[in-house]
């Protein structure tokens, strides 16, 4: 039991620490052009990684191909058809659930 609470205590401080480190290091200086050229690319680079990680990660260890990939495929079709956000995520869930039910 104490291992659990020790983990929680350290991770509370550790997670908060990682989140505030960037903003505190930079302080209140306005961002320069060099900085903006980079920060603008953090979102697309990380988003691409999130999509792959959330679709193909096998519980954090290695790569696996399962029903989530079908859900993502359906979501991409919905995006190309310009469906609104809520429709895209519901389509992904429905297709994934369907593939799971029939496999």
């Amino acid at each position: 039991m104490s291992a659990v609470w020790l983990t929680i205590a350290v991770l509370t401080v550790g997670t908060f620490g990682m989140k505030i480190l960037g903003p505190l290091v930079l302080g209140e200086r306005p961002p320069g052009e060099r900085m903006l050229a980079m920060t603008g690319l953090v979102a697309p680079a990380l988003l691409a990684a999130f999509v792959l990680y959330e679709t193909f990660s096998a519980n954090g260890h290695g790569i696996t191909l399962d029903a989530r990939a079908a859900g993502l495929g359906a979501a991409i079709v919905a995006i190309l058809l310009r469906a609104p956000m809520i429709v895209v995520v519901l389509v992904a869930a429905a297709v994934t659930a369907g593939v799971r039910a029939f496999s």
Binding site: A3, V4, T15, A48, V89, R100
Partner: protein, 235 residues
């Protein structure tokens, strides 16, 4: 600098995430209850509030690992807050304490929603979008802990597939233009290359290196404008 949006606007943008986040919280509660008891998972969701880090720690604890190994696994997942924090830092407001408090709102989806696409970030969206997610995450964990034995398989509804779909929508909006598209492709390539063998968290953290492309393009632009200036003076 553009003014930040109203927090209510951020809350509205965060609403599509309530259902998948709730499902994620329920999964965490269901899986954590046998290992951590009924109170600890809820407290953890409330104070740690980082799904990826919590699942990483839980995986280690479930396998019988100690606190040190659980903390190390979770902190690897937390590594990505550093590049995200550096990106949003300049757009927070107030003194050190206020900035630190605002950084607490940093979560993956809110970070992505708050990006304006030109290198600036909207703190109103960041904070607003996090509020419903925080409620759903902790509330979901509570439901999961209480119904631990009643829910057989939280994955049956396919709710876990809502996250990649959500991020794909945001990516389609962000990856416009040659440079953002290149950064996205490079980030994807890095993540995919590392996923088969790197510890959890590392592939996503490493993908942020793709943002350094911005440095090169900035230098190229600076050189070009310098040349223009030089030729302009010569003629």
């Amino acid at each position: 600098m553009q003014k930040p949006s109203d927090i209510r606007e951020g809350v509205r943008k965060g609403l599509p995430l309530v259902l998948p986040t709730l499902a994620g919280g329920i999964s965490f509660g269901v899986l954590a209850q046998p290992v951590m008891g009924s109170i600890a998972p809820v407290v953890m969701s409330l104070v740690v509030f980082s799904g990826a880090a919590q699942f990483a720690a839980l995986t280690v604890l479930t396998a019988g690992g100690g606190a040190l190994a659980a903390i190390a696994a979770a902190m690897l997942m937390n590594g990505r807050w550093l590049p995200m924090g550096l990106a949003i830092g300049p757009f927070l407001s107030g003194g050190r304490v206020r900035r630190a408090a605002q950084s607490l709102a940093l979560v993956d989806a809110s970070f992505a929603l708050s990006s304006r696409g030109d290198g600036t970030y909207d703190r109103g969206i960041l904070i607003g979008a996090t509020l419903p997610q925080a409620a759903a995450w902790t509330g979901g964990t509570l439901i999961g802990v209480l119904s631990s034995s009643a829910i057989a398989d939280p994955g049956a509804l396919g709710l876990d597939a809502m996250f990649p779909a959500f991020f794909a929508v945001l990516l389609a909006g962000e990856a416009r233009g040659k440079l953002p598209l290149t950064a996205a492709a490079l980030g994807a390539l890095i993540a995919l290359a590392l996923m088969p063998f790197a510890p959890p968290g590392v592939p996503v953290l490493a993908a942020s290196v793709a943002a350094l492309l911005g440095l090169r393009s900035h230098r190229a632009k600076a050189v070009a404008s310098h040349r223009e200036l030089a030729t302009g003076q010569a003629s």
